[in-house]
């Protein structure tokens, strides 16, 4: 029996089943880090009803699958976001909302916001907009589902493997690094 599940073919089938399950129950941790938080309620309420895709809110990081970075991140929040992200269980995904997460957006010259989200935590999908409309948010989720199904949303693995690099970037902007170690 064990041998049967260890060979490559069955692993593949198992992965497909796993990914199917994962993609259809995306519990989001809506950490309202920025403006984008305002489009989350419309997305998950009756008009756009994201629950059709198994998307619904989770109260704590430990229960969540997807971390939504809804816009700009101030340095102070980044510290908390890293905490929240590291608390989340594998597999976990990150979505970056809006311009701010890509290249600084309209706060590109602000002294208190980070400019590229993917330097600090791995991002699986970016949604363009300022703010992204609910439709765009759903399109982002659909994309994320595709990536999960294809087994390409592997930011969490990347983070584990390149923890050094991420830590370096994180500690460059967070001057007072008093955080518990990342422990899985």
């Amino acid at each position: 029996m064990n041998r049967a599940f260890n060979d490559r073919e069955s692993q593949k089938i198992l992965d497909i089943i796993k990914n199917f399950a994962r993609k259809n129950s995306l519990f989001i941790l809506a950490y309202g880090t920025g403006c984008g938080a305002i489009e989350i309620p419309p997305t998950i309420t009756s008009r756009y009803d994201a629950e059709r895709f198994g998307i619904r809110g989770a109260a704590t990081p430990r229960q969540a699958d997807v971390l939504l970075i809804t816009g700009y991140l101030s340095v102070k929040t980044l510290k908390r976001v890293i905490r929240a992200y590291e608390q989340m269980q594998d597999p976990k995904y990150v979505m970056g909302f809006g311009s701010c997460t890509i290249n600084g957006g309209m706060y590109w010259d602000s002294y208190n916001t980070i400019k590229q989200l993917d330097k600090y935590i791995p991002v699986d999908v970016y949604i363009n907009g300022c703010m992204p409309r609910p439709e765009a948010v759903i399109a982002g989720f659909v994309k994320l589902q595709q990536l999960i199904q294809q087994g390409k949303a592997l930011g969490w693995k990347h983070y584990k493997e390149n923890l050094e690099w991420y830590r370096q970037n994180q500690q460059k902007v967070i001057k007072n690094w008093r955080m518990p170690d990342y422990n899985w």
Binding site: S99, I102, V125, Y126, E135, G140
Partner: protein, 603 residues
Amino acid sequence: MSWFNIKGITNPLTALGQVAKKPHTIRFPYEEKPAAERYRGLHYNDIDYCIGCGNCAEICMNKAIDMVPVEGIEPKKGDSGLRPRIDNGRCCWCGLCVDVCPTGSLSLTREYIFVSPNPEDFLWMPGISNPDGKDKRSWRSNDLNFSINTYEREKMPMLDPKERVKSFAEVVLGYEEDQARREAQRCLSCGLCTEACPEHMHIPEYINAIAWGADDDSLRIIYDNNPLPETCGKVCTRRCEEVCALAKRGEPVAIRWLKRYATERALNADEIKEIVNPPIAPKNGKTVGVIGAGPAGLTVGYYLALRGFDVEIYERNSRAGGMTMYGIPKYRLPLESLDKQIEYMKKVGVKFHFNTEVGKDISFDEIYQKYDAVFIGVGLQDAWKLGIEGEDADGVWSAIHFLRRVNEGERIDVGNRVVVVGGGNTAIDASRVSRRLGAEVIMLYRRRKQDMPADWEEIEDAEAEGVQIWTQGIPVKVITDEQGKVKALRYVKAEMVPDPRGGRPRPVPIEGSETDIECTTVIAAIGQSADYSFLPEKYHDKVKMNRGRIIVNEWGQTDDPKIFAGGDAVNRVADAISAIADGYRAVKGIVRLLLGEEALKQK
């Protein structure tokens, strides 16, 4: 409130009534609700219509727009060849870039979904990345009222047409200070105009200086590469304004009038000297002789003098200025204005020899031997003839001679009816001068009004002053009376025949349509040619000609390295600013020849 209320439990249960209702959910992505008519989504740029002025990049406070070269877009006059590229990782979809676009090529579309796992994807070229965006354009600036740019020009105060014809007083009065500031503020500072200007003046800079209230700086910038700015400010053919970004959908910035405004801040030569205060290099011992004190010659004189050369200008007339002095009527360019600029040149060390005709009073050989370099800027002195019967009659003038005599102060009796043949600026000048001499004026032009090479504004002004413009008429004969004086001009009507090779339509005479116009004077303004009789035979193999124009290289140099040439004698455009550009080019050529490449780089 009681401890138990039944309504508090039953009323919320009414929510159950919604069960049977159809949900209002938009089942995106299975069904779509199109975005609104003016939704601000992703950008679209009409690449062919865009002129690459970069105004969108300038207004964007997120620095989201880069101007980059695009394959297939060739830079040309009025088009920088660059196109906007949007960094969607910066854009905030405010739409200011659309509202400041002077051409209306940039717009936002209804398309807004752009999802990607790769953050590098979000750089894109609107119009190239989304060619199908054209049908989805939503936030646009087709209504000029909502565009941030001001498309209406400040109105230039002018003399009333009825007053104008009474004297040779200057017609254009010039901007008041607040008008100039407002007009200068309209400028988008893109710099497309500098390419169209033959002299590549620093147009955005001096206009900005006016907008900021720094008139002195403005004048200094203007004098950086134009020694006759007041002349240009009054009579320039202003090809810069044709390519102005605002001209695509509105009136161009009044570049000429703003230059005029800046130059008029200095009331006399001393003030110009004080304001401009150019650094004058110590004498370097080199000498340059200039033939002809027209715009080209004056430019060479001025800038070489600043660089420490000994420059002497030979002029056969008694005044400097060349065509700007003798060819342009005084109501456009008053004598005092020109004198002021010449006076300033004398102050920086340019030497003049007036009433000295080369080839008569002094031989070309002598000049050639005496100086380290020679610049020929003799211009076009002779007029083309009409080539019709009776044109030697008394009362037939060539415009250039006519204008010259008038500008020398002579009051010519033109009778009461003048026919001016031609459609260029000189023809207009001759017509308007004739009006001021008290005659009724008819302009006779071979083609249609829209084909006239003259400035549109000039044509309007002439008409306002009462000049009648008769088009599609070809003169065939001057009819004289017994004393050999002009009595009438006979012309045939013409019809416009399209050119089979795609050129502009040609006028073809209509058989039997001869008509006579009764008149006392006929003025021919159909073109000019040069007179090179001063140039001895032995130079002819070095100073080559092509259809009456001297051939020069990129430095203004003829095949004889010592001889430079410029102005109307070289270029076919024949206006003041091109002559100045030629002069400036020759300045660089002469510096390069006499001081070497290195000196060219120092300014």
